[in-house]
Amino acid sequence: MTAFASSKDLDAYREKVVKSRPKGRREIAVCAGTGCKAFGSFRLLDAFRDELAVQGLDKKIVLRPTGCHGFCERGPLVLFFPEETLYQRVKPADVKEIVERTVKKGEVLERLLVEDPATGKKFRTEKEVPFYKHQRRLVLKNNGLINPNTIDDYIAIGGYSALAKALMMGPEAVLAEVKKADLRGRGGAGFPAGKKWEVCRSQPGDTKYIVCNADEGDPGAFMDRSVIEGNPHSVIEGMIIGAFAMGAHEGFVYVRQEYPLAVERLVLALLHAREHGLLGKGILGSGFAFDIKVKRGGGAFVCGEESALIASIEGRRGVPRRRPPYPAVSGLWGKPTNINNVETWANVPLIVGNGADWFRGIGTDGSKGTKIFSLVGKVNNTGLVEVPMGMTLREVIFDIGGGIPKGKKFKAVQTGGPSGGCLPESKLDIPVDFDTLVREGAMMGSGGMIVMDENTCMLDVARYFLGFLKSESCGNCTSCRDGLMRLHALVADICEGRGTEQKLALVEELAATVKASSLCALGGTSVNPVQSTIRHFRDEYMAHIRDRKCPAHVCKALITYSVNEKCNGCHVCARQCPQKCIAGEMKGMHTIDQQKCIKCGICNDVCRFDSISVA
C-alpha cells in the first residue's frame, strides 16, 4: 500500500473504491459491536459466511461486520442492502432461511422484524422504528454502514475529506470554524472545545500534545466505546484535524484495557491510517507531521479526570492535581496539551466537512449539535441514542425509549453517570442540554441516562453510586475519600433501618463539605446522587427513617413478605423458597417463617395468584 502523496491521491482512491462497489449491490451488514458480540454476532457472521459459501453466493454478496447500531437490546442486528431491511435478535439457526428467502428472493421474514412492544406493530427498516425515527444520528450515522476493520469503507463514505479540506484551509481557519461551531466538550463539563484549542495553540514552544480521552468509566455508559469500535477513523480524523489546528505532532488515545475490542480496532485503524499516509510525516503531502499512540489505562474511574489522565500517561499514579495551570498550558510532561473526549473528536470532521453554520443549526442556543446517550435501565428500548441538544427527557425516554416496561410507572432518570443527579417526573419536560441539566442538579456527564421505575428505591440508588465512588475516589482528599466512605455508611444505615433524622442531617452537612472542599470534579460532583435524591425524594428518606418502611420495597431490612388470603395452597412458593421457610398443606393457606426469611422475593416472583404481600 502506497501512502497518499496528496489529497488528489485520496480522491482518486475513493473514486476507485466507490466504483468497485456498484450501487444497489446486495450486502449483509451484521453488527459486530460489543453488545451484539455478547449476543453471539461473531458466530452469526461465521454462519452467514458458511451459508453464502454453501449456496455459492460468497462472491456475489458482501458480508460486512459493522460497528454498533445502538439498539443493543435487540441484538444481534442485521441489515440487508439495498432494501435496508432490519432484522433483530438473529440467531445462527435463522441464517439458512434468511439467505434463501431474504437474500435470494428479497422476502421479508416478519418474525425477525422489530416490533413495537405496546402496539405489536412491525417495522421493516431502521427509519420506521420509533427508536431510530426520533434520533438525529450524526456521529453514529456510519456505525452501521462501515466495517471498522478496513479504512476503505470509511474513505468510501467520504472519510478523511474533512482532513483534506482542513489542510487546505490552514490552522487558523480550522480553529475559527470549530470556535464558530460552538462545539462543547462531550466528556462531561461542556467546556467550549474551540476556546481550549485556542489556548493550547497560543502557547509558546513547538512541542504540544493532544489526547483523546476514552476512559469511559461510568456504569452503564458505552457511547465512546461504540464510537471507537464502530468508527475509529472518525476519531482519528478529528484528532489529526485538531493537531493541525493546534500545531501538535504527537497524540495519545487513553483507552481503558477493559475495552479490548475498542483497543484492537483502534490499533488496526491507526496502522491503516499510517500506511495510507494519513498519519506520520507529511500527511497527504503537506508539511504537517502527526502520529497517535494508544495508551491503555487500568480502568480507574478517576483517570477520566484530565489531570489524573495525564499523570497516568506519564506513568505516575492516577491522581488529579490542582488546576490551573490547565493542561492546555501545562499538561503532559509540562507541555501544552489539549484533551478532548472521543465524541468531541468525532464531531470535528463533521464540523470541518459541513461547516460551522450547519452544525450551529442543530441544537439549542447554548448547546449545539447532537449528544449520544446510553439509555439504560427500566426502559423498553435500551441502547445508544443520538439526539439533537434540547430534546426533552420525555421525548428521549418515551418516544425513543418506548417508555417503561410492564406498564410500570416512571419514577426518576439519572443523567450524567455516577456523579450525575436523579430527576423526578416533574422534570421530564426540561430540555436536555449542558446548562439546564446542571441547573436542575444533574449533569450531562458523558451521556449516561439511567431510567428508573416505581420499583426503584432512591436511597438504594444513592447508596449504589456512593459505593461506586468511594471505591473510585483516588483517595487524595480527606473530604472525598473519607466523606464518601461516611456518606455511604450513613445512607446504608438508613436503608437498613438504622436511620435517624440526625443521620440525615449529617448526610446533608457532610455532602456540602465533600462538594465544596474536594480538589477535582470527581469529588465536587460525587454527592450529586445523594443531594439530588434528597432534594426530589425527601419523603422517601423520611419513610425509611420515621416509618421504617421502604416504599419501593427494595430495602430488605424494611420489608416483610407474607401470604395473603388469595393463597390457594399450590405450594409452588414453598418449593422454590431457598430457605424452605414457607409452610402449608396442599390447597391450604401457607405461612412464611419471618425468622428464616431472607427476603429474596422469589415467592412473590413465582406466585401466579398474587397472594404474596410485600409491606
Binding site: V302, E472, G475, T478, S479, D482, G483, T513, A516, S517
Partner: protein, 251 residues
C-alpha cells in the same frame, strides 16, 4: 515581588510561583494545615488549609497550600463557611487519628471535641491520615521506598507491594515529618526496625551510641561527597571534641 494580592483585606506581595499558604504564613496570617511541608510539593490532601478566594469575579473555596498566588487575588482566611468545612474535614480526620494530639487540638480549635463517625477500623497504620508526607519526603530524598497503595477508602501507605523495600535506608525521615507521628520506629542500642525492615546502627567509635544506620551512612556518603570517616563519631561527641579543642586554643 511582582504579584500583589490581598489576604483578609491586607495587601501583600508575592513572588511568581509562590503558594498562597506560604505567602500568608510569611505575612503572619494563621492558616491551619496538616499535610503541608515546605520541602516538598503540595498535594492538597488534608483539606484543612481551605480559604475563600475571589479571582476574576468568582468566589470559591480552595486549599491554600497548592494555590498559586495571582495578581489581584483576594484571600479570606476565616469565614463561617471556611470554618464549617475545616471543622468537618477535621472531624473526618479525628475518626482516622484519634490518637494524634495534634489533630485533636486542631479539631478542638474548630469546636470539634468528638467525632460523629466511628473510628476507622481496618486502617493498616493506626492514626495515619494518608497525607503522603512520609512518602513525598522519602521520594524527595531519593529513596522512593514508600508508596500509596490502592485507592478510595482502600488507600493506604506502605512500602510498594507490601514487602519491605530494598530502597529504604532506615533514615526515619518519614517519622520526623509525619503530622500524627504514626510511623512506627523501634530503636534498640544497636538496631532500628521501620516499615518491617531491621537495620544495624553504625556505633560511635568514641561513646558507642548509635549514629545512623549502615545503609543510611552509605547513601549519605555517596550523595553528599563526605569523607569516609564522617560518621565514625556521633554528633554530640564531635561537638564535645570541637569544644575541647577550642577551649585548649583559647586557654
Amino acid at each position: 515581588m511582582s504579584i500583589r494580592l490581598t489576604i483578609d483585606d491586607v495587601e501583600v506581595k508575592a513572588e511568581p510561583g509562590e503558594y498562597v499558604l506560604a505567602v500568608a504564613r510569611r505575612e503572619g496570617f494563621a492558616i491551619p494545615s496538616l499535610c503541608h511541608h515546605e520541602s516538598v510539593a503540595p498535594i492538597g490532601a488534608c483539606r484543612v488549609c481551605l480559604v475563600q478566594v475571589t479571582f476574576g469575579g468568582k468566589t470559591t473555596l480552595s486549599t491554600s497550600c497548592n494555590m498559586l498566588a495571582e495578581e489581584g487575588l483576594q484571600v479570606v482566611t476565616d469565614t463561617p463557611e471556611v470554618r464549617a468545612h475545616r471543622a468537618m474535614n477535621l472531624e473526618l480526620l479525628l475518626a482516622r487519628a484519634p490518637g494524634s494530639a495534634r489533630v485533636r487540638e486542631m479539631a478542638r480549635q474548630y469546636g470539634v471535641t468528638r467525632t460523629r463517625f466511628p473510628q476507622v477500623a481496618e486502617s493498616a497504620l493506626a492514626n495515619c491520615i494518608l497525607c503522603e508526607l512520609c512518602m513525598r519526603v522519602c521520594s524527595r530524598l531519593g529513596h522512593d521506598a514508600l508508596s500509596a497503595i490502592g485507592r478510595g477508602d482502600k488507600k493506604r501507605i506502605g512500602p510498594p507491594f507490601g514487602t519491605p523495600s530494598e530502597r529504604c535506608v532506615g533514615c526515619a525521615s518519614c517519622r520526623s515529618v509525619c503530622p500524627t507521628a504514626c510511623v512506627f520506629v523501634r530503636d534498640t542500642a544497636t538496631s532500628r526496625t521501620i516499615w518491617g525492615k531491621t537495620f544495624e546502627f553504625v556505633l560511635c567509635k568514641n561513646c558507642g551510641a548509635p549514629v545512623l544506620t549502615r545503609e543510611h551512612r552509605q547513601h549519605a556518603l555517596a550523595h553528599a561527597g563526605l569523607p569516609e570517616d564522617y560518621y565514625d563519631v556521633c554528633e554530640p561527641c564531635k561537638q564535645a571534641d570541637a569544644a575541647g579543642r577550642f577551649a585548649n586554643v583559647v586557654w
